[in-house]
């Protein structure tokens, strides 16, 4: 093509991609199924250790899982290991939440969000073995029995969502992968044994510590056992393998699995395999999302560099191994109850890998491996791992930023772009000193973490901000359930100025926050009965303190994450009330409420006023000012409270919770109709950002991001021209630098592709801000005639993405 310099797609594909594509096809063609093997072994383990301390029973049952579970190695695999008995399997963590499956036995195979096919044999095993033992023993049942009344009322009316931690294990953590790889399990075990030798069994408390340290040893033995079984399996397969090339590969696998993770890794490949064994082990221990490998480009770099220098590996071989690991990350599927799945759909494992940023001396940390990790996601294009970049405006290079943009171009939605300075700031605001905060890593969705040192629930509960406005205008009544569920804030008709109205909104925010905090304390207590010795192995201080991760043994403990959903709905609704009712007096509050009750049916003129009121995302002074005020207030409010582990931590990351929360909220003054989804993250509401990306970023920058220490999530659309030409790529780089300067924390891009445009054609009101631009001309897509729209759709690229 002539004209703007077009980006050439990569030339001939490297040969190793054939293997990767075969492995990828296998993942994509496997239907997710429930997998109860782990639960059955766990049950037998608990039965066998009846009478012993809980943590020992858990550790022994874990050991049994490692010793008895199905071990298989598939064709083409170079990195091996599987947390269940098969890939794409949802494993049931019976001690946490057996009863979830009990409620869904007949529906799980076909439920709308994240179905898992339940085999008849598994169903039988569940009814005959699992359910009878675990009845009345799971954390989920404890939670159902103990949930405080005011928390329950809000939960049951869709104002808060707080069950997440009761239906699955901890997750939301970054284990000490570096220590594991460098020291090996045996190195860690030596520390445990030494620590045990310091105990004096006549001293009160030391018996408890001794039991705990023993539990750690069982967990450690289990992981070693698991690897040994893979070594045996590989050896046996090699013996029977007719193809000489594959036979050689299998022998190598056997050798590596004999070595790691028991011993320190000696090569890049051993380091990857060691990491993955530990990854499946901690997932097996507590089925949960968000076990984050973190800064792989940092802790794997010495291994890759040494191999390369010694001539033990080529770059291409290393890339193939990384790609193989990437496929492994996409194999497991998170099992969660139907309700939670609706809040986070897509079997979301959230294994967040991160590259870039600065090192612990504050200088540029990018190395060759950073690029290769980005390349792995470009090669594999599956939904896991969640790939994040830390971009340091001051320290990282333009070359690195450009590679990031090239990955954005693939349309996979990766990488999640993080402003490094803000991540560091957030970690410091969690109480971690700068020296260590330099080493932060994105966690799960957009939360912040620190490997091997930090314990927290990053997203304990979600608060529905749409409800806060609804309640202010209804005296605390839920429109959907037609009953009072929040505090009494008086007759809205008597609000004679804006401050009265705003005080009412704030009162409901206060009430919702308090209710979450009260519930959070209960969950913290229940979670004490959910020790996780395998995970605790790589938290040095857990060994030193002989205190489990679950009990606060990590070096740093942060208070639970309280997540806000419906940011734009809240801002736009407050702005509309202020503008229409109090500033310009175009509308009485009575008229507004009547229109809302009727979902604007018959009140289209009021709906129009509401829709045309100032909106967040356009750099409008009124909306932006409200943003700063209300989100400072909410951060203050959440930070007022502490749990036994530390100060509560605010965040804004909806995953997909904005959709189910929307179903609970009637029409809003923003002009949003009843039961529609709320806006996601800190993004503007669909169809209300009419001024382009710079205006969106300016508005978003009014949120005090650094205080929302569990992260703030921004989704933005990017026009294809930004990605198809040299000029566009340069401009997107400039846009990202501007974002950093503005103090915005995160962004992820959705490329406007054919599918987006077709949706926009069908639902123009949702895509009002979508611009069509060519030189010297610009128009809103929704305002073009169908014939012209069709022409544009025909000329816009289809971006492919594989989602699990």
């Amino acid at each position: 093509m002539p004209g703007p310099v077009k980006i050439k797609s990569a030339g001939s594909k490297p040969a190793y991609l054939q293997r990767i594509n075969r492995l990828k096809t296998r993942v994509l063609q496997t239907r997710p199924e429930m997998d109860l093997e782990n639960a059955r072994i766990l049950t037998r383990g608990f039965q066998e250790a009846e009478g012993e301390p809980l943590v020992l029973r858990k550790a022994k049952a874990f050991y049994r899982q490692c010793a008895e579970k199905t071990v298989s190695i598939s064709e083409d695999e170079l990195i091996v290991g599987c947390s269940g008995s098969k890939i794409r399997a949802g494993i049931l963590c019976a001690d946490s939440c057996w009863s979830v499956l009990d409620h869904e036995l007949d529906t799980i195979s076909n439920r709308p969000y994240d179905p898992f096919y339940l085999l008849p044999a598994d169903r039988e095993a569940f009814i005959n073995e699992i359910k009878p033992y675990w009845k009345n023993r799971s954390t989920y049942e404890e939670w159902q029995a103990q949930i405080p009344e005011q928390t329950r009322v809000l939960r049951d009316s869709g104002v808060i969502y707080i069950d997440r931690k009761a239906v699955r294990g901890f997750g939301e953590t970054t284990a000490g992968y570096e220590e594991l790889i460098n020291e090996g399990i045996c190195g860690i075990t030596a520390n445990i044994i030494k620590r045990r030798s310091d105990l004096d069994m006549t001293r009160p408390g030391d018996y408890e510590k001794d039991c705990y340290l023993q539990a750690l040893l069982f967990a450690a033995e289990g992981i070693i056992k698991l690897a040994e079984r893979y070594a045996d399996k590989a050896g046996r397969l090699a013996g029977a393998e007719p193809d000489s090339q594959r036979r050689k590969e299998l022998f190598e696998i056997a050798e590596i699995c004999k070595r790691v993770p028991a011993q320190p890794a000696r090569s890049f490949r051993e380091a990857l395999q060691s990491l993955y064994f530990y990854q499946i082990a901690i997932f097996m221990e507590q089925n949960a999302a968000s076990y984050n490998p973190g800064r792989m480009d940092q802790y794997l770099w010495p291994y890759y560099k040494a191999d390369l220098e010694a001539g033990r590996i080529t770059k291409e071989e290393a890339q193939e191994l990384l790609d193989c690991l990437w496929i492994k990350f996409s194999e497991p599927c998170l099992f969660q109850d139907a309700g939670t799945a609706e809040f986070a759909a897509g079997y979301p494992m959230f294994q967040n890998v991160c590259v870039g940023g600065v090192d612990d001396t504050g200088k540029d940390a990018v190395n060759d491996l950073s690029y290769m990790i980005l390349q792995a996601t470009m090669d594999v294009q599956l939904y896991q791992p969640s790939l994040s970049v830390r971009y340091s405006l001051a320290k990282n290079s333009n070359a690195f930023l450009r590679k990031i943009v090239e990955l954005i171009r693939t349309g996979t939605g990766f990488p999640a772009f993080h402003n490094d300075d803000l991540g560091i700031m957030m970690l410091m605001n969690k109480g971690i000193p700068l020296k260590e905060a330099y080493n932060w890593n994105p966690c799960g969705c957009v939360e912040t973490n620190l490997e091997g040192r930090l314990r927290q629930y990053t997203a304990l509960a979600d608060i529905n901000l749409g409800s806060m406005v609804e309640f202010a205008l209804s005296g605390g009544k839920s429109r959907k359930y037609d009953r009072r569920v929040s505090v009494e804030t008086g007759d809205p008709l008597a609000f004679n100025n804006y401050d009265h109205f705003l005080e009412a909104v704030k009162a409901h925010i206060v009430h919702a926050t308090r209710s979450v905090v009260i519930g959070s304390h209960v969950i913290d207590e229940i979670s004490l009965n959910r020790p996780c010795p395998a995970l605790s192995l790589t938290f040095k201080e857990c060994i030193e303190n002989a205190l489990d991760y679950a009990w606060g043994g990590a070096k740093y403990n942060a208070g639970n994450g309280i997540i806000l959903i419906g940011v734009a709905d809240l801002i736009n609704s407050i702005a509309a009330v202020r503008h229409l009712v109090y500033d310009t007096e175009q509308l009485t509050i009575e008229k507004l409420i009547t229109a809302l009750i009727n979902d604007f049916e018959g009140y289209e003129d009021i709906e129009k006023l509401c829709l045309e009121a100032p909106k967040y995302g356009n750099g409008e002074p009124l909306a932006d000012q409200i943003t700063g005020e209300i989100f400072t207030f909410m951060a203050d409010e959440i930070e007022k409270y502490s749990s036994k582990f530390g100060r509560m931590t605010p965040g804004i990351l909806p995953v997909s919770g904005n959709t189910p929360f929307g179903l609970e909220v009637g029409a809003l003054p923003s002009g949003r109709r009843a039961w529609q989804p709320l806006a996601d993250g800190v993004s503007p509401s669909g169809g209300t950002d009419l001024s382009g990306p710079s205006a969106v970023l300016k508005s978003v920058s009014h949120i005090p991001h650094g205080r929302y220490v569990q992260g703030t999530l921004l989704n933005m659309k990017v026009e294809p021209a930004m990605l198809e030409t040299e000029n566009g790529i340069t401009q997107l780089m400039a846009l990202l630098k501007s974002l950093c300067s503005l103090g915005v924390y995160h962004v992820q891009f959705n490329v406007i592709d054919q599918e987006t445009l077709i949706r926009a054609q069908e639902n123009p009101e949702q895509y009002k801000g979508l611009l069509v631009r060519v030189a010297g001309y610009t128009a809103y897509f929704s305002e073009l005639g169908k014939d012209v729209q069709d022409e544009i759709i025909g000329r816009t690229v289809q971006h492919g993405i594989s989602v699990g």
Partner: protein, 317 residues
């Protein structure tokens, strides 16, 4: 509009974060009013200086609210009662009907903004100009038709260190151009056709003034750069002969940065309907990507020294 033309301008709209009209990320200020009448114009709502009311009949629910709201009684139902119509000579462009229309079928094209109001918009994106090397582009309509206002905006930008560009037909007296010259970094000017009589037929005016002004600006003492744009209109100016003539003219320009071929497009056809205007090029088929690249290649073949390229847009794919 204010009597003081430097203080207020007739503005069609302001667009932010554009990457198509100059360097970097840009704020483009589309001014309203143009002295030319190009047959293929994609922005018919920019031709008149006065505000204009658009009507999207397909969105209209014929609720009649606009009829009630009109103080001049300029709006009435059509005979079939399914739509409304406005008597243009009675309408004062007060916008009351636009504000009240619940289905957004009515739209007012144009607004009056002071220089400081424009600058408030411009300054919102300063950080984006900084990182992208972008700035402000005046477009239209014809910025030179509001030269005092345009010069005031560009001057304010320059003082703030913001790059300035102008997309113009240069169909203007040179006094107006002189007002702008000290404040302009990059000029984007159309050469629509080299033959004066063909030009007059399709554009409504002679091309002599345009070519003269380009030459004068090229020879001025100010260090601006010039980008020549050819709107590639099939059957009008895409012949070998005309492109060669254009090249010959461009060869004489010392400030020429590049020549861009912008393919004809029909994105504005809906606006013609909404304004109730006849679209003279309604049946004209836009050039395909291949046709466009062939024309670019042809010109490059004739002159390898000048940077010639296709303008960004949908035909780039």
């Amino acid at each position: 509009m204010s009597a003081d033309k430097t203080a207020a301008g007739s503005v069609l709209r302001i667009e932010r974060s554009s990457i198509h009209d100059g360097l970097g990320l840009r704020t483009v200020i589309f001014l309203k009013g143009c002295p030319l009448n190009c047959s293929w114009c994609s922005t018919p709502e920019s031709k008149e200086f006065a505000f204009e009311k658009g009507y999207a009949a397909e969105l209209c629910s014929a609720c009649g609210r606009c009829i009630e709201s009109c103080p001049e009684k300029a709006i009435s139902y059509t005979d079939d009662h399914l739509q409304v119509q406005t008597e243009a000579n009675k309408c004062t462009r007060c916008s009351r009907c636009v504000g009240i229309c619940p289905s957004n079928a009515l739209k007012m094209y144009g607004t009056t903004l002071s220089v400081s109001e424009v600058m408030r918009e411009v300054s919102k994106d300063e950080i984006f100009y900084f990182y992208s090397g972008g700035g402000v582009t005046l477009s239209g309509g014809e910025p030179l038709s509001q030269a005092g206002f345009s010069a005031a905006v560009l001057k304010k930008c320059k003082v703030l260190g913001i790059n300035t560009a102008m997309e113009s037909s240069l169909y203007s007296n040179y006094e107006s151009i002189m007002m702008i010259l000290p404040w302009l970094d990059d000029l984007y000017v159309d050469i629509k056709h080299m033959d004066s009589s063909v030009h007059r037929k399709w554009v409504g005016k002679d091309n002599r003034l345009v070519l003269e002004n380009i030459t004068k600006m090229d020879q001025s003492t100010y260090p601006l750069t010039i980008v020549v744009r050819i709107p590639l209109i099939p059957g009008f100016n895409d012949s070998d002969q005309n492109l060669l003539a254009t090249l010959r003219f461009c060869k004489g320009l010392s400030r020429l940065n590049k020549i861009e071929l912008l393919p004809y497009h029909r994105l504005g056809s809906e606006t013609y309907r909404h304004l109730g205007l006849n679209n003279p090029c309604i049946d004209l088929i836009p050039p395909t990507a291949d046709q466009l690249s062939e024309r670019v290649a042809f010109m490059k073949q004739q002159n390898s020294k000048i940077n010639i390229c296709a303008g960004s847009g949908f035909t780039s794919e």
